[in-house]
């Protein structure tokens, strides 16, 4: 039977894929690479496409999207730290704003390298007033990220009303935290991303937070297992005089992210005894191992009954 199956497939005449189709398949593989593994997938895609021009096309389309979607961070050549690639800082395809150092990083997406840094122009930066607020959130955020995310990166962008000159109006800052790890020798990798839009209304002395957290984890020792989870949150905090607004906002973020983690822990705790049972039980409904010798008897009896009654079921 084996021979016959193979014979059938090999007799088929193959239709060669067009270049565009090959490029889009290559791009699809790159975009779905697990955290930290895009370079390994790229190596495979290069081999599969065989034509290096096609690979270059797929890579040049996929990498900018992959890098921004995965929020990767790249070391800046002037030693001033890392640039986080996010849509909030994306000035154009290869230029990214670094709010903390008020600079602009030039990025080579396919090489995943930052090649150049220049000071940001005035129109790329927020007003001194909004920057003051952004700065105080950034300081509190750095402290939190340093404690909770080993090797994590974060940034605070001004995303609405960045030119506001004085207090009393409404503006928005967006807080981004990204952490990823990839350890092939431990067969694991993963990423955490959280994005918090913080709308500040100074008249109401309040800030409303809208955030999304998403995580992905991959474990692949003699197998391939992936976890994905995400959740959206809303919160409103009061900004009182005398209290540092940055700390108040970041405390709320920290709290909600801890809630997310404890929910995740609950889901894992339920897995073994409840969730997994929907797929396969640990033990049969009879709570003892399956009686193979008796089952055979049972099915034989069934068969005999069936033959006598002429009923096949």
């Amino acid at each position: 039977m084996e021979d016959r199956i193979q014979g059938n497939l090999e007799e088929t005449e193959y239709e060669e894929l067009g270049d565009d189709q090959k490029v889009s398949i290559g791009k699809w593989f790159l975009l779905n690479a697990p955290p930290g593994q895009v370079l390994q997938v790229a190596k495979d895609v290069r081999e599969l496409l065989t034509d290096s021009q096609l690979y270059d096309r797929a890579a040049s389309e996929a990498f900018p999207e992959y890098n921004v979607r995965s929020m990767i961070s790249l070391e800046m050549p002037d030693g001033s730290g890392k640039v986080l690639l996010t849509k909030f800082g994306e000035l154009d395809r290869s230029h990214f704003l670094v709010p903390r150092t008020a600079s602009v990083a030039v990025v080579d997406h396919v090489k995943q390298m930052c090649t150049e840094v220049r000071p940001a122009d005035d129109e790329e930066l927020p007003s001194a007033y909004v920057e003051g607020f952004r700065f105080c959130v950034d300081v509190a955020l750095l402290k939190y990220v340093d404690e909770a995310f080993q090797g994590g990166e974060c940034s605070v962008y001004c995303t609405k009303g960045k030119d506001l000159e004085k207090s009393g109006g409404e503006f928005e800052v967006t807080v981004v935290i990204s952490n990823s790890s990839y350890s092939p020798k431990n067969f694991r990798g993963g990423c955490w991303q959280s994005v918090w839009g913080v709308l500040i209304n100074e008249e109401l002395h309040s800030a409303s937070l809208q955030g999304t957290i998403s995580v992905n984890a991959h474990y692949f020792e003699e197998g391939n297992v992936q976890l994905q989870s995400s959740r959206a949150f809303n919160d409103t905090v009061l900004l009182q005089d005398g209290k540092d607004a940055g700390t108040v906002i970041v405390n709320s973020i920290e709290h909600l992210e801890s809630v997310f983690l404890s929910n995740l822990e609950e889901q894992f705790a339920n897995l073994s005894d409840r969730t997994f049972k929907e797929l396969r039980r640990k033990l049969p409904v009879t709570r003892t191992l399956f009686a193979w010798d008796k089952a055979l008897q049972l099915s034989l009896t069934r068969e005999i009954t069936r033959e006598f009654s002429g009923n096949r079921r």
């Binding site: 039977m1 895609v45 790890s181 989870s229 049972l298």
Partner: protein, 273 residues
């Protein structure tokens, strides 16, 4: 081919069908190897004559038709489709009955199929046992916990007998693929997907017959795979998340905060001397 297999190991298991389709389009000359080396969720067909479902795989396929283990007929119809020899067909029928009972007791639903054939070298026989369960709300789920929940088990077993027909030698290769998303709306989607494959080889006395031995081996293997996924694999993905973002407030000696606290205490002690 190696690059193709490497990429299959890296793609999210939930996208494995799409990944395989892409590879088939890209490497049509390798289609049979790709299909045999990568496991995919099982497809279901129905045998109208017996009013029962059965599962499709390479081992019950002849051309574009698949043989039902119940009527042993091919669908779409095939006049001269390959059939197992009479003795093996009898074993196949018994196995399908017994594994249906086994499946009901462990899975509370689902579909199972067993196919038996004569290997190319003519020695002994080979069988594959397939089990598929949809544990979602819309499927056979009983507890309303899963929005999506699929389990596919594929067991391929090669059996040889010794000359005196006292012992059977069994070589089992098993793969489990699963994908689940919990139905809890409040906490957002929580999805796990994965596949693992294991092999085992053993000799067993033939006093209760082959079917009994095969059944025990498969039962043991399925429990091992289930526990492995549950305890080891899922546990590891949880560990990955908790190293990306530490659960603050929980102090452990190995955590980042734990370590920095330790350093601070050591420093303070040093200074106070």
């Amino acid at each position: 081919m190696e690059a193709a297999m490497d990429i299959m190991r890296r793609m999210p298991p939930s996208l494995s069908q799409q990944a395989l389709d892409s590879l088939l389009a890209l490497l049509p000359a390798h289609s049979s190897e790709l299909l045999s080396r990568s496991d995919q969720p099982l497809q279901v067909a129905s045998d109208e004559e017996f009013d029962k479902h059965y599962l499709l795989c390479d081992y019950n396929r002849d051309g574009d038709s698949y043989r039902s283990p119940w009527s042993s007929k091919y669908k779409p119809e095939l006049e001269d489709g390959v059939q197992p020899p009479a003795e093996l067909r009898k074993l196949e029928q018994e196995a399908n009955e017994v594994f249906s009972i086994y499946r009901d007791q462990y899975y509370e639903g689902g579909v199972s199929s067993v196919y038996v054939w004569e290997p190319e070298d003519g020695k002994g026989f080979a069988a594959c046992v397939l089990i598929k369960k949809d544990g979602s709300d819309a499927g056979d789920g009983r507890r309303g916990l899963l929005q999506e929940g699929s389990w596919d088990a594929i067991h391929v077993i090669e059996v040889k007998e010794d000359q005196e027909r006292q012992f059977g030698h069994y070589c089992l290769t098993s793969t489990v693929m699963l994908a689940l998303t919990t139905a809890n709306q409040a906490t957002g989607p929580f999805s796990l997907s994965g596949s693992i494959t294991r092999q085992m080889e053993t000799d067993l006395a033939l006093e209760h017959g082959h079917l009994c031995n095969m059944g025990r081996l498969i039962e043991e293997m399925e429990s091992k795979l289930r526990n492995g996924l549950d305890q080891v694999y899922f546990g590891k993905t949880k560990e990955v998340v908790f190293t990306l973002r530490e659960p603050l407030g929980v102090l452990t000696a190995t955590s980042h905060i734990g370590q920095s606290l330790q350093r601070r205490i050591v420093n303070d002690l040093g200074r106070s001397r």
